[in-house]
């Protein structure tokens, strides 16, 4: 393998010595990387390959090693009966799966949209100079620091139909006529999940956007001020285009996170078809309903979906990396 030196060698006597040094460094680097690469192969690479393999077999939870290859059977099976009727089976023909896909997409879209809007507002507030800015920044870190499970339980207590404080508040303010069973009712379950997720994740979004805002040079605004540009126009013509690379990366980061959501939904709205996402349905099939192979197929499909977004993220991230960093 060839290697490149950090600096170009200048003197005639030096190159040999320097390249020996570089070779020593490259050898050391390979040795240094080995433990990490082995660790990642064992905890990520191999399990991923096995999960995908299981999705093409008839494996069950109790009999992983006796699994036999059945091709795409877990994904889609088309059988024509003698009567001429065609029967579709497998994950891709399962309405419960498509319901989970729809829930996941719906959740990801609405949560990321609101987190972006609210995150932008919070970031703009934090980017302004005012008394008590430190307190606001400390306060918004609290939802972020609270474990998801804890926030799910905190909110399910606040959203409780009989003793919940939010029903009480809503009725006192005249917004509600009667208490609502927010998490139990299929009509409001998704709304409840969205509210909790937006509450918990907006701070993260705000901090990422804030980092982008702080990279915008101040003199651009000074120039705009002198030219008499209206602040709203300043936001759409200066702030938004300049913060866009950071914003795009933050959005895709959040989309990836939203697509794999599991814990909040599992705890806040257990067994609700209105909120069950791809991760939840897959985990249930794998370890609770003894449909190991089908669960593997579902997790593989989710992996494919997220892989597409990851490629998009790295691609956009690289654009940002070359342009914005140093």
């Amino acid at each position: 393998m060839t290697s490149e030196a950090i600096g170009a060698p200048t003197a005639a006597a030096q190159p040999r010595q320097k390249s020996e040094l570089m070779q020593q460094r490259v050898r050391a680097a390979r040795l240094f990387l080995l433990p990490m690469m082995i660790a990642l192969a064992v905890v990520a690479g191999w399990p991923l390959a096995r999960s995908i393999y299981f999705s093409f077999t008839d494996a069950t939870l109790n009999d992983l090693y006796g699994a036999e290859w059945i091709g795409f059977g877990n994904y889609l099976q088309i059988r024509v009966l003698e009567s001429g009727r065609t029967i579709y089976r497998g994950v891709l023909a399962d309405p419960a799966w498509w319901n989970a896909v729809w829930n996941t997409v719906r959740f990801a879209f609405w949560s990321v949209l609101w987190e972006t809007i609210l995150g932008m507002i919070v970031a703009l507030v934090l980017n302004a100079e005012f008394k008590g800015r430190g307190i606001v920044r400390a306060a918004i870190l609290i939802p972020w620091a609270i474990p998801t499970i804890v926030s799910a339980r905190m909110w399910s207590w606040m959203l409780n139909d009989q003793f919940g404080i939010l029903n009480d508040l809503g009725m006192r303010l005249g917004l509600l006529n009667a208490p609502v069973a927010w998490t139990a009712s299929p009509d409001t379950a998704m709304l409840a999940v969205l509210v909790v997720d937006i509450w918990k994740t907006t701070p993260f979004m705000a901090l990422l956007i804030l980092a982008g805002l702080q990279m915008i040079p101040k003199d651009i605004y000074e120039a705009a001020e002198i030219d008499g540009v209206h602040p709203v126009k300043q936001f759409f013509r200066i702030t938004l285009p300049l913060v866009r690379p950071a914003l795009m990366v933050a959005i895709i980061f959040r989309v990836l996170d939203a697509l794999r959501i599991f814990d909040l939904i599992y705890v806040l709205t257990p067994n609700s078809a209105a909120t069950k996402t791809m991760s939840v349905i897959s985990q249930e099939n794998l370890f609770q309903f003894n449909n190991f192979a089908e669960g593997s197929a579902q997790s593989t499909l989710l992996f494919l979906l997220i892989a597409i977004f990851t490629i998009l993220y790295i691609w956009l991230g690289k654009v940002n990396f070359d342009g914005g960093d140093r």
Binding site: L64, I142, L302, F303
Partner: protein, 281 residues
Amino acid sequence: MTGSFDLWKLTKGVLFYALVIAIVVIAVFPFYYAILTSFKAGTDLFRINYWPTSFSLANYQSVFSQGAFPRNLLNSVFVASVTVALALFLAVTASFALSRVRFRGRGLLLMTILAVSMFPQIAVLAGLFEVIRFLGIYNTPWALIFAYTIFTLPFTVWVLTTFMRDLPVEIEEAAIVDGATPWVIITQVFMPLMWPALVTTGLLAFIAAWNEFLFALTFTVSNQTRTVPVAIALLSGGSQYEIPWGIIMAASVIVTVPLVALVLIFQRKIVSGLTAGGVKG
């Protein structure tokens, strides 16, 4: 003329501070309410108050006396600490190689590490279950330490690599002239400079491991081996109407207070660590 201008300015100021107060109240209220609830006992629990009216430690006493919660707490501390130590140990040398040495395939390797940190955990769940059963660590804390490496390791490598890339070349050159090997450079020259970065990444990885739910739910099955998130999620009464909300809130507060304290103490470092892992990455 000036009067109306001042009025406009005043209105703007009032609206701005109203927004600020709204942000703070919304951010803090749920946690405040959880603390409030955790100090209520008996039928007080079902009276809705916005301010503290009674004070009782009964819920905290039952959290520590009933069930396996103290044990769960210990499990969480153990799992998160060992996971972080392991990740930092593997990441320090790896990120030296990734940030200070040029070699072929470095960019590809960095991309792979980033891609792994984006993995949906569910995608490896089935295969990880097989490996964990094979290793005979199913239903032990080691299963979780093993599994958590999938998200702590890529994250620590990534953040430490961005940090080390910014260390001045001169320090390293001086060490090379003195005949220091790469190992000596890492341990004697870089490590003392890296404490802030190690603390930040360690803390963020600790929080991630402390909060993890999916792996903990799947790879541990008994009360004695569970971590706190799973224990809190599974705390329930005999029926839907007997959910012990007071105890749940007390347990939640116990689990969250140390995290909130750590986050507030290391505020600045955490924000910079998050942005290094997010925006730059």
